[in-house]
């Protein structure tokens, strides 16, 4: 539907020149910009130049909190909608996460606690019903399709009744939304909850994935994985990415675009090196009987 293919790097100011050179060489299929960091009327000239060069730019929101108890904020939705229009984007992406909480679902009353970070909603019937309604509200407010991303969940809720694959499948079935499948986040979540990331990935609704995220992180001393977005991609994450490439091939599904995210230590050298690794890992399989 959205047709995002090939490999990509998320747009960040310190690597704007590098991404421009990738685009000029035909090595950047699309990119993504953090919605909260730009204004639709004052888009960075370097980003507009990429757009002018034919690179698709996806607005990626981080503060909507679709997994929260309250309906998504109309002002944040209007911002995402305006960005999608200004960038001519084929879709907008956000997260299956809550980012703030208040003692009542009405944001105008009660003290609001801001997490400043993406946190996992519980996977219960209540939580799913609210998430479905929130995603529908977002879809109604957006001029383009919405894709939602699995986050790196370092803890799970004791009341969970669904696993992540079933939860996301139910969300997709109920709303028709698309997914951003982050393989590093899946590795992080699976490591933290003690599940097998490969088995999880094979049960995700792969035909609903609009594009894929991957990023670097570090293995923590206590066995947990932190998605720092500032370290190299680890061997288990690259192996999971390869599993994904194989899974699409096995199912004769077109492989979605794969985007590298880097948010810390964003230097040309680091991104160039990681992008080379990504492109090797994402290379099409060579069939024995083509």
């Amino acid at each position: 539907m959205s047709g995002l293919r090939g490999t990509a790097v998320a747009w960040r100011r310190p690597i704007a020149d590098l991404l421009a050179s990738y685009a000029a060489a035909g090595e950047l299929s699309f990119t993504e910009v953090v919605a909260e960091n730009v204004h639709p009327d004052r888009l960075p000239p370097a980003l507009l130049a990429l757009r002018g060069a034919g690179v698709t730019v996806v607005p990626h929101g981080v503060t909507l909190g679709l997994g929260g108890a309250d309906l998504p904020d109309p002002a944040r939705l209007a911002h995402l909608a305006a960005l999608a229009t200004a960038l001519g984007a084929p879709l907008v992406s956000e997260h299956v996460a809550f980012v703030r909480a208040a003692t009542t679902p009405d944001p105008l009353h009660g003290d609001v606690l801001e997490a400043g970070h993406l946190l996992p909603p519980a996977r219960t019937a209540d939580s799913l019903a609210v998430l479905v309604e929130n995603v529908r509200a977002a879809q109604d407010a957006l001029p383009v399709p919405l894709a939602v991303e699995n986050i790196a969940a370092l803890f799970t809720w004791p009341e969970d009744t669904l696993d992540e694959a079933d939860f996301l499948t139910a969300l997709v079935d109920a709303t028709g939304c698309r997914l951003v499948l982050d393989v590093a986040n899946l590795h992080a979540s699976a490591t933290a909850r003690g599940s097998d990331p490969v088995a999880d990935l094979l049960r995700f609704p792969l035909d609903a994935v609009a594009y894929v995220h991957v990023a670097g992180g570090e293995e923590h001393a206590d066995g947990l994985y932190l998605d720092t977005h500032g370290h190299p991609m680890t061997p288990p994450v690259l192996a999971l990415l390869r599993t994904l490439v194989t899974a699409y091939d096995d199912r004769r599904l077109p492989l979605p675009g794969i985007l590298l995210e880097r948010d810390d230590d964003v230097t040309e050298a680091a991104v160039r090196s990681e992008y080379d690794v990504l492109r090797a890992a994402a290379a099409p399989l060579v069939r024995e009987h083509a």
Binding site: P105, L113, A122, A129, E133
Partner: protein, 154 residues
């Protein structure tokens, strides 16, 4: 809205768990390692925000640990600028105890334009910090004594 009561239950539960994680407590029933790491990530995100506002925080040894302990007791109430303002006030009134805070506050005051000059000890060296407009100079005695000063502008 068809999910009114579900939203109310969800709001109360999310608030309970998020408040515990921000305080550094393990919410009942949640794995301690996962909760502890989540708390560290939440506090680290907040101190990263403070550092973006006031980069000279990195010149205060031990500031991250002190900030994270302070953050656990003080839920965010505003943006990173508000965080820094409240944390610096706590350093100033001694409710947050960092050994070299007095020297660092001198440096910070010059950065903020509250003072033009401060003579402080930074990284073990006596340093005269001078601010004029948006420029800031650090003057340190040459290592072999003498009255001449080395300067670095920023």
């Amino acid at each position: 809205m068809t999910t009114g009561t579900a939203r109310e239950r969800l709001a109360a539960r999310q608030e309970e768990v998020l408040a515990a994680l921000l305080r550094g407590d393990v919410p009942p029933g949640v794995d301690a390692a996962g909760a502890g790491l989540t708390t560290r990530v939440l506090h680290r995100k907040r101190s990263d925000g403070a550092l973006r506002v006031v980069p000279e925080l990195d010149e205060l040894p031990g500031w991250r640990t002190a900030f994270h302990a302070w953050a656990a007791a003080h839920p965010a109430d505003g943006c990173a600028h508000d965080d820094v303002r409240r944390f610096v006030a706590a350093l100033r009134d001694g409710s947050v105890d960092v050994p070299t805070a007095a020297d660092w506050l001198g440096l910070h005051d010059v950065h903020e334009g509250r003072r033009r000059v401060a003579l402080v000890r930074l990284a073990g060296r006596r340093t005269l910090v001078v601010g004029l407009g948006s420029h800031l100079w650090r003057l340190t005695p040459r290592r072999r004594g003498g009255a001449l000063l080395e300067g670095t502008g920023s």
